[in-house]
């Protein structure tokens, strides 16, 4: 015990009494993510790259299927239904859907209605605001959309994002995301197309995946 006492010198004392000099380090470096360092930016959550890949995969599957080829030509009207986020992440599910919407429109085989949608964010309120102006003298009445001009959807696109988390080994966790999409024929209620893309990530189990 005495040896221990003697081994403490004035320097240790000064540090101890200073109370607050505890090793802390902080850095706030911010970097742009490029092709070279993209690997470092990967998290256990879903990032924009995951959305892009999953959406592209779904889109390829959709366009490769026959579903959007309307018999006799013309374009289908597609409504965007609800995409349920059943994960631990606060995800903007519109990000996933957006790429697929764009792809469908670019294919020339489908149009998207913004008059009805599963999520009110995907409805363009202006469609209805303009119709409110029907008796407003300030507006040239024959330029206001008449009654019975909106198209009802033929198909509805809905989805779900699921997540499974499990520990693998002592300190790793496997996080899997299942991005599921379904295209349903509104009249018959029959699903014409479905796709599931899976994203798997392995990372440290020290903290949660979100």
């Amino acid at each position: 015990m005495i040896n221990l006492y003697q081994s403490l010198n004035r320097c240790t004392l000064a540090i101890t009494l200073g109370l607050s000099i505890i090793l802390t380090g902080c850095s706030s470096n911010v970097e742009y993510v490029t092709a070279d360092n993209a690997q470092d930016a990967v998290s256990l959550g879903l990032d924009s790259q995951d959305f892009e890949l999953a959406a592209q995969e779904s889109l390829n599957s959709l366009l490769a299927s026959d579903v959007l080829n309307k018999p006799g030509g013309g374009r289908y009207v597609v409504a965007i239904g609800k995409v349920v986020n059943d994960t631990t992440l606060r995800i903007d599910t519109d990000m996933l859907i957006k790429k697929i919407r764009i792809g469908m429109l670019q294919s020339g085989k489908a149009v998207i209605t913004t008059a009805v949608a599963g999520n009110s964010n995907n409805v363009d309120d202006l469609i209805y605001d303009v119709r409110e102006l029907r008796d407003n003298d300030e507006f040239k009445q024959d330029t206001i959309a008449g009654k019975g001009t909106l198209y009802a959807p033929d198909l509805s696109l809905t989805g779900k994002i699921l997540q499974r988390i499990s520990r693998t080994g002592k300190n790793k966790q496997l996080v899997e995301y299942y991005l599921q999409l379904t295209l349903t024929d509104v009249k018959s209620g029959l699903a014409y197309w479905e796709n599931e893309s899976i994203v798997r990530k392995l990372g440290s189990n020290k903290s949660t995946a979100w």
């Binding site: 015990m1 005495i2 221990l4 006492y5 403490l8 004035r10 004392l13 540090i15 101890t16 009494l17 109370l19 607050s20 505890i22 090793l23 802390t24 380090g25 349920v84 986020n85 059943d86 994960t87 631990t88 992440l89 606060r90 997540q163 988390i165 520990r167 440290s204 189990n205 020290k206 903290s207 949660t208 995946a209 979100w210």
Partner: protein, 426 residues
């Protein structure tokens, strides 16, 4: 160092629903995790759900930061806490607090009618439950082995099926039976209830089933499990009462005095101060939702105690090292600064730092109870055990399920939340 006073003051604020956030915001700078948790609970008491979410989101981000940074600075942190005191370190938080943080956030989002974000929070709570089971893996495995070798297990295996309660124990004991004291059955149950209200019946069923395996004798859970398996056409609307009862276990400081002459006459005092916990009282033993009395679904005291018990050996070791280091300092001060009264300064130093870490999230109740009845009309009355009315709610919508959530720390101090999803969103 004033932690006790600050926390006691906060608890008074919580009980009296004094919605002044200034003292909390002032404390957040010095101990962010402890006071964002406290802020979240106070804002919830004040029915300011958005503010509560903001505080608890901050708390969750700090938890994340601590978990991922721990390995890097573990050396620095333990050095600091041995030489100085745990209270100088930021509060680290407990597993059960993390779980309740996500449960409260989920409930807050439900109150705001934002079921999409509530789903995320309940999923988080469930993942935290899984992580809590990992944290207690050793203890659960040990209990599992002990149980399977016990006379009780043999008896159940030979006399199965005669008693309806024992039916659930068929064969090997399910590990879930050992969970209730380690992870929080309420978190699993309330998640199940959320998914039921969000019309995700298969997920609700799985979670109610899991809760039923943890609490095989809990009749309400059995009934809810049955309800979740019915076809949706038969479903009528119900109101659940969730009752958070009393105040959870309180951490307090306990000091052992060692005669200092054991060491040397140059040391005035050699103490070791460690935290200890004790139980506090109930509010109402139960409440009545019309004629239906609430029954217990989680004994939070047991959960708090288990986690405390698991951490105690490390706390004791740290306190011992702390004592040795401080006695050393007293000795050294006396040696080097004797002419200036070094021993006295050392003594003062020890006094100023010898406080056990008694920090905790004071919003955790003693236990949580539940009851359910069908919704008949707009009105429902909740009674105290003596038959007098605690509250009457007369704005229920009979066309959708509802949760009445009551937190009562002490008799006559009740906070009431009503959750009912607006029909226009589903």
């Amino acid at each position: 160092m004033g932690y006790r006073e600050n926390l006691d003051q906060y608890e008074q604020q919580l009980i009296s629903r004094d919605c002044n956030y200034t003292p909390i915001d002032g404390q957040i700078k010095s101990d962010p995790l402890l006071w964002t948790l406290n802020g979240g609970a106070l804002a919830r008491q004040c029915n300011d759900y958005q503010k509560s979410i903001t505080y608890l989101d901050q708390a969750e981000a700090i938890f994340k930061q601590k978990e991922t940074a721990l390995a890097l600075s573990a050396v620095g942190q333990s050095l600091g806490s041995i030489l100085v005191n745990n209270n100088v370190n930021d509060y680290q938080g407990e597993n059960y607090e993390k779980i309740m943080m996500n449960v409260y956030k989920g409930l807050n989002f439900m109150s705001l009618n934002d079921f999409d974000n509530a789903r995320v929070e309940f999923n988080r709570a469930l993942d935290r439950q899984r992580r809590a089971a990992e944290y207690f893996e050793q203890e659960i495995n040990e209990a599992y082995k002990q149980y399977n070798h016990s006379e009780y297990a043999k008896e159940i295996n030979t006399h199965s099926l005669t008693n309806s309660n024992i039916k659930n124990y068929r064969g090997d004991i399910s590990p879930e039976l050992l969970y209730p004291d380690f992870i929080n059955p309420f978190a699993t149950y309330i998640s199940g209830l959320f998914f039921y209200l969000d019309h995700d019946y298969s997920k609700a069923e799985a979670l109610f089933r899991q809760t039923a395996r943890m609490l095989p004798n809990q009749k309400q859970v059995q009934d809810d499990l049955k309800l979740s398996t019915q076809s949706s056409k038969q479903k009528q609307n119900y109101v659940w009462l969730i009752y958070e009862n009393g105040q959870g276990m309180l951490k307090s400081a306990f000091t052992y005095h060692f005669p200092s002459y054991l060491f040397t006459d140059k040391v005035i005092t050699t103490d070791i101060t460690v935290p200890t916990i004790y139980k506090r009282s109930l509010s109402y033993p139960y409440l009545k939702l019309e004629q239906q009395a609430t029954t217990e679904i989680a004994d939070m005291d047991n959960i708090v105690q288990q986690e405390f018990k698991k951490k105690l050996p490390a706390i004791m070791t740290e306190a011992m090292l702390n004592m040795i280091a401080k006695s050393t300092i007293q000795y050294t001060l006396e040696e080097k600064l004797e002419e200036y009264g070094g021993k006295f300064w050392g003594f003062l130093y020890q006094l100023s730092t010898d406080t056990a870490d008694i920090r905790q999230w004071r919003a955790i109740p003693k236990n949580i109870q539940v009851a359910r009845i069908p919704i008949q009309d707009n009105t429902v009355t909740i009674y105290k055990p003596d038959g007098t009315i605690l509250t009457k709610i007369d704005y229920l919508q009979p066309n959708s399920n509802a949760i009445i959530y009551i937190k009562s720390e002490i008799v006559d101090h009740n906070t009431i939340h009503l959750i009912q999803q607006s029909s226009n969103t589903q």
